[in-house]
Symmetry: C2
Subunit: 94 residues, 2 copies
DNA sequence: ACGATATGCAAGCTGCTACTTGCATGTCAA
DNA sequence: TTGACATGCAAGTAGCAGCTTGCATATCGT
């Protein structure tokens, strides 16, 4: 299992997570097109490599169907950040 | 203002945040000693550079007094992670 | 004032990371 | 089956990030 923090370190990867949050189950091609529309100039291969990193970190779930892949966001690995330094609006005292 | 995500990407920097969570207001020297005791082999200069990154990201507050510096943890920048992909135990539905 | 202590600054080296390029694989439609 | 489409794989390249090294600065005790 890869490093969640390292996965979050890249701006393009964060943009991918943003994109998946706005629209789940996107195809790689869809994702590339939409990122291009938002000013990112990454190639398909670059995005694919980023997806591999995100998948390895558990932040993304990829399911294959025919010649397409469908990508979904999984935010549960982010929870370890809370648990480690315990902040945020709700993890307050008692 | 630096990048919070990039600041979190390095294991040594995360160890620094851990250390500051356990004991606030540490000196640079104190910090180095304690990290050494935990298996980290970083030099003082390395730690100092890490601190600069953490300070730039707002994750750490450094106050200078005489020939010492006192370092404190500030977890508030982490909140943007929650707000961006909104997860965790409490940011649930409704 | 002088030495010791605590930290700052800057240049150079190295390894990793993101990107590109080119080709391979596999799926669907006709 | 054949061609077009969607994705996978791998090697090579460039830039940056973290580390070291060496010296500079500043503060405290005596």
């Amino acid at each position: 299992m890869g490093d969640v923090y390292k996965a979050l370190a890249d701006p393009t990867r964060r943009a991918i997570l943003d994109e998946l949050r706005d629209r789940a189950g996107q195809t790689l091609f869809e994702l590339c097109t939409r990122l291009l529309g938002k000013g990112f100039t990454s190639s398909r291969q670059a995005i694919s490599q980023h997806l591999a990193v995100l998948e390895d970190a558990g932040l993304v779930v990829i399911r294959r169907e025919g010649r397409y892949i469908f990508i979904d966001l999984d935010t549960s690995p982010l929870q370890q950040i809370y648990e480690r330094w315990g902040i945020g609006p709700c993890a307050s005292d008692t």
